[in-house]
């Protein structure tokens, strides 16, 4: 797969009087074409600084960013033609209707066949009925869809979504996520920053955890979860929980405990033990209704990585 973005050793320090805040410290990321890449981290971790550098709003202190073969420090205008941003924190222009605003943004990107393109993005984002309404009067959910419509005008190869569902109700967030999935199917490269772990897990092909300006870990959601879990957790739904615990506790490397009535949690140090567990359960007097592997959530993984690496850095 081709690389869409290559970030190499990007550092940025902000100075305020005598104070210096390291916003980014030697950040290295590669984003492949067509993938949704998640950037997750607490407030002040450096996510916004990184996407601001990529969009040409801030110049880096050191390092290079290559986007679609263009160097961010020398060819930012070329990059801007192929990139767009949706941010949950930006506003819409006052005194312009949705259609007028889109015409304005279309002119900024010199979009060919602008009227047709505006019709297309309005249709895609279900905003056609409000095309003549003032953009500032739209509801939060509609405004966010409008931002997406604006960001899609220039048919960007790379789309940066900075907390696109922040502050939205469940229904609006769902419709934005649905749109993002649709964009992925079109083959666009998407960089997504979010605090919503469920959203990240649902949408992202790969994720980078960032904290205090440093990349802590990069991988697919499954890889990241495996990285932090030393033992596998298996949940057994049965008729005689005490019997199951007694049977399984005899196996070396396995520890079992009753989680609640008829529910046993089993910690296994290796998948190789699963065959032994199944054999033991077959000889047990209890009925076995189901056996499920319990994965850690992305949220648990995130907290473990952030806290673990945070302590290492202190």
């Amino acid at each position: 797969m081709d690389r869409a973005v290559t970030i190499t050793n990007i550092s940025k320090t902000f100075h305020s009087g005598k104070d210096a805040v390291k916003a980014l410290v030697s950040v290295n990321i590669e984003i492949q074409k067509g993938e949704i890449f998640g950037l997750l981290g607490p407030n002040g971790a450096g996510k916004t600084t990184l996407i601001s550098i990529m969009s040409g709003l801030i110049s880096p202190e050191s390092g290079t960013i290559i986007i679609l073969g263009y160097d961010c420090s020398k060819q930012i205008t070329d990059i801007k033609k192929h990139l767009n941003v949706v941010s949950g924190f930006t506003g819409v222009l006052n005194s312009l209707t949705c259609e007028q605003s889109l015409t304005y943004y279309g002119l900024l990107y010199n979009v060919p066949n602008l009227k047709t393109r505006i019709n297309d993005v309005l249709k895609l984002t279900n905003l056609t009925p409000v095309r003549n309404q003032l953009a500032e009067e739209l509801s939060s959910g509609m405004k966010q869809r409008f931002m997406l419509a604006k960001a899609l005008l220039n048919e960007p190869d790379i789309l940066i979504l900075d907390e696109p569902t922040v502050g939205l109700d469940v229904e609006s967030a769902l419709s934005i996520r649905h749109l993002i999935k649709q964009l992925r199917s079109e083959g666009r490269t998407i960089l997504l920053t979010t605090h919503n772990m469920f959203e990240a897990e649902e949408l992202c092909d790969r994720i980078a955890f960032i904290n205090r300006g440093k990349i802590m870990e990069i991988g697919t959601p499954t890889e990241l979860k495996r990285h932090v879990v030393s033992n596998r957790l298996v949940e057994i739904h049965c008729s005689e929980d005490e019997c199951v615990v007694k049977t399984l506790s005899k196996i070396k490397g396995v520890s079992a405990s009753v989680k609640s009535a008829n529910l046993v949690h089993v910690s296994v140090d290796s998948y190789k033990k699963m065959k032994e567990i199944m054999k033991a359960l077959a000889n047990c007097d209890s009925e076995i209704y189901s056996i499920n592997e319990m994965e850690p959530t992305l949220e648990e993984t995130y907290l473990k990585i952030i806290n673990k690496k945070g302590k290492q850095n202190e």
């Binding site: 941003v85 924190f89 506003g91 222009l93």
Partner: protein, 257 residues
């Protein structure tokens, strides 16, 4: 459409289309210039001075409005994006700072031309005012437009960093020019001879001298006017670029988060 022209036109489109929904900006074109015109012309009529002084006031107002609109439009176009929190959308687009400045200056020029035409019609009907030398009149307004553009570039440079404070400055500058460049009077008759050389070294003074010369009040130094106008333009361009890069470095240009 050529890419650059499209981006320049985007600013003209935005400013003109949004004008009818912005009462403050509408008043700036339709109400304040008329009130200002009548305030000064009524006063001159009241004190019963020579009609040439009335003409001086009318010409001065036309020239001043040119500087005012060019300078203010550049900064207010930027500030309106900032106030509506939409500035990052524009700053991440391929528009360059020069394309932005030219685009907003063009919409300022359109407003200035509209107000000047309005002045010409009203003053012709009420006072029989007319331009005796159209060539010099347009040339003088052209210089004033370039100077207004330079001032806009300068104030925009401040706005990258200081936002609201820079906007306040953009309102103050044209009024200071009225005083130090003798928009409605002769600088020789007001300022002491020790200060006059400095006053004459302002392109605004020379441009207003050219404008006033149409009715026999000014004595412009054309070489000085050309050189000073060009110098201000170059300095303003360099200052704007320096401030832009500084703001970009310090993360003050626009914020996504």
């Amino acid at each position: 459409m050529n890419e650059s022209i499209s981006r320049i036109y985007s600013q003209v489109y935005k400013n003109i289309v949004s004008l009818r929904r912005q009462s403050f900006r509408m008043a700036d074109v339709f109400i304040w210039p008329i009130l200002y015109l009548f305030t000064l012309t009524f006063f001159v009529t009241y004190i019963g001075s020579d009609k040439s002084y009335l003409n001086l006031i009318i010409l001065g107002m036309m020239g001043w409005r040119t500087i005012y609109f060019l300078n203010l439009e550049i900064v207010s176009t930027f500030m309106e994006e900032f106030w509506s929190k939409a500035l990052p959308h524009m700053m991440i687009s391929p528009i360059s700072r020069i394309e932005f400045t030219i685009g907003s200056a063009i919409s300022g020029l359109i407003k200035a031309i509209f107000v000047i035409i309005l002045y010409l019609i009203i003053t012709n009907i009420l006072y029989g005012f007319w331009i005796p030398d159209w060539g010099t009149f347009i040339l003088a307004l052209g210089f004033l437009a370039v100077i207004g553009f330079s001032l806009g570039l300068f104030t925009l440079g401040l706005a990258y960093f200081f936002k609201h404070d820079a906007f306040n400055i953009s309102f103050i500058i044209p009024d200071v020019i009225v005083l130090i460049s003798g928009v409605y009077f002769s600088v020789e008759s007001v300022y002491p001879s020790s200060i006059l050389p400095f006053i004459r070294l302002l392109p605004t003074t020379q441009a207003f001298e050219l404008l006033k010369s149409i009715i026999g009040f000014g004595q412009p130094n054309m070489i000085l006017l050309i050189l000073l106008t060009a110098l201000w333009l170059v300095l303003a361009y360099l200052f704007n670029g320096w401030m832009y890069n500084r703001a970009k470095k310090e993360g003050k240009l626009a914020r996504l988060g």
